[in-house]
Assembly symmetry: C2
Homo-oligomer: 230 residues x 2
DNA sequence: GTCTATACTTAGATAGAC
DNA sequence: GTCTATCTAAGTATAGAC
């Protein structure tokens, strides 16, 4: 059922491609899920686009749901690595003093908001200027993905705990329960950026520029910092 | 295809029940969607539970998607009526002066957070103390409902515009673009309460009490008010 | 106008050939 | 390791009973 760790000789160049097919499917799924959503992508359309057989997805990933989870996992891994790196840098720069709340929030918010995926167009709308494909993918995946998907995202909190601890040190007088609630609301503000994107567009009549990532990061950091510090 | 406004004599008591079946389906769908999510409820399970024929849903609502939308519409209608009523009361109480930001936010946040649905258990966990079934339904419906569902929620902003205007009067020095962004983040904080519910539970190790509606309302109002006012 | 039995269509999963 | 053929489940459509 699940994939095995062992592999045959990867140097062969003929038809059975092994790992190549797997990666090809992941990249194709990634791109198509962003565009059409999870349920909008049928296995038949996906495998046709990737140029592989219908059954290849089941062979490599088991189910369509498992494929989605794998795409998410691959993306979130790099996001969380970057978050950890940024937090570490901020803490190192602050020396013995706790870092500023704003700097901690930046380390938390910037990586997902700037993230793009591995696929083709990564170069055309890279980190500067374009909107985050990753956030769009997660929003869509949570939107109409399987229940497992939500559970996975919601329970994947270990990397967030380090940020809660950092904020706790920066706001030593704030009771822990208050801090956790406010942290939760701050994450809600972050997710709202792409999750309810069209609502802002509708409310503002298009006046709010959703494409300016730098300005958006500033705004959400300001908002969350104010709410956290009371 | 769509339902007609005209109805036959409603006094008849025999088998063709007309409107009754429609309501029965709505109530059953409402309860089951909350428990199992949209895609977790098959038409066959739903109609079996309601004791109606499989095709009855198609007859009364057209499609499964349309049924979900109707359940949502029925719920959101009463929420938005209550919101408008509360805003009106707050503005009347303030006289000629603009109301306090907190009071406006309360009028916006309380109705959805207190809302329960029409179905059976409404009495057992009424408005005081229990958690909002409506918010859970919306979270799940957005979660794995059809794309239309998201579009409907996101675009249904006319009732929100009155709140933006009220906040604009309460915060006359805040540029409109800033206000809209912050309002958007505030809505994100509200939605986070039930949307990413399990994350807070996981982060706090169960220490944050999600069942205390009054306390939760206070918290999210405080957070949003701080963020809005800078 | 309302409901039911039944058939149709699509899509994900799987077994076995190669 | 890959692909074809097939199975099952689920949403939808329709014809006809009442």
């Amino acid at each position: 059922m699940t994939r095995h760790g062992a592999m045959p000789d990867p140097a062969r160049k003929d038809s059975p491609r092994g790992e190549e097919t797997r990666t090809l499917i992941l990249d194709t799924a990634e791109a198509m899920f962003v565009e059409r959503g999870y349920s909008g992508v049928t296995m038949r359309a996906l495998t046709a686009e990737a140029g592989v057989n219908l059954a290849a997805v089941n062979y490599h990933f088991g189910t369509k749901d498992a494929l989605l989870l794998e795409v998410f996992r691959r993306g979130s891994l790099s996001i969380n690595r970057e978050r950890a790196r940024r937090l570490h840098a901020v803490e190192a720069a602050a020396g013995n003093r706790p870092p500023a709340v704003r700097d901690i929030l930046r380390a938390l918010f910037e990586p997902p908001l700037r993230a793009t995926f591995h696929s083709r167009r990564a170069s055309s709308e890279g980190s500067a200027g374009g909107s985050s494909i990753y956030m769009q993918f997660v929003a869509r995946a949570v939107l109409d993905g399987p229940p497992q998907m939500r559970a996975l995202i919601e329970r994947d909190v270990t990397h967030l705990e380090r940020f809660v601890e950092a904020l706790s040190r920066a706001l030593p007088d704030l009771p822990r329960e208050d801090l956790l609630w406010r942290f939760h609301f701050a994450m809600g503000a972050l997710h709202s950026i792409y999750h309810d994107l069209r609502r802002l567009d509708a409310l503002s009549g298009g006046a709010c520029d959703l494409g300016d990532v730098d300005a958006t990061i500033d705004r959400v950091v300001d908002f969350a910092a104010a709410g956290l510090q009371d």
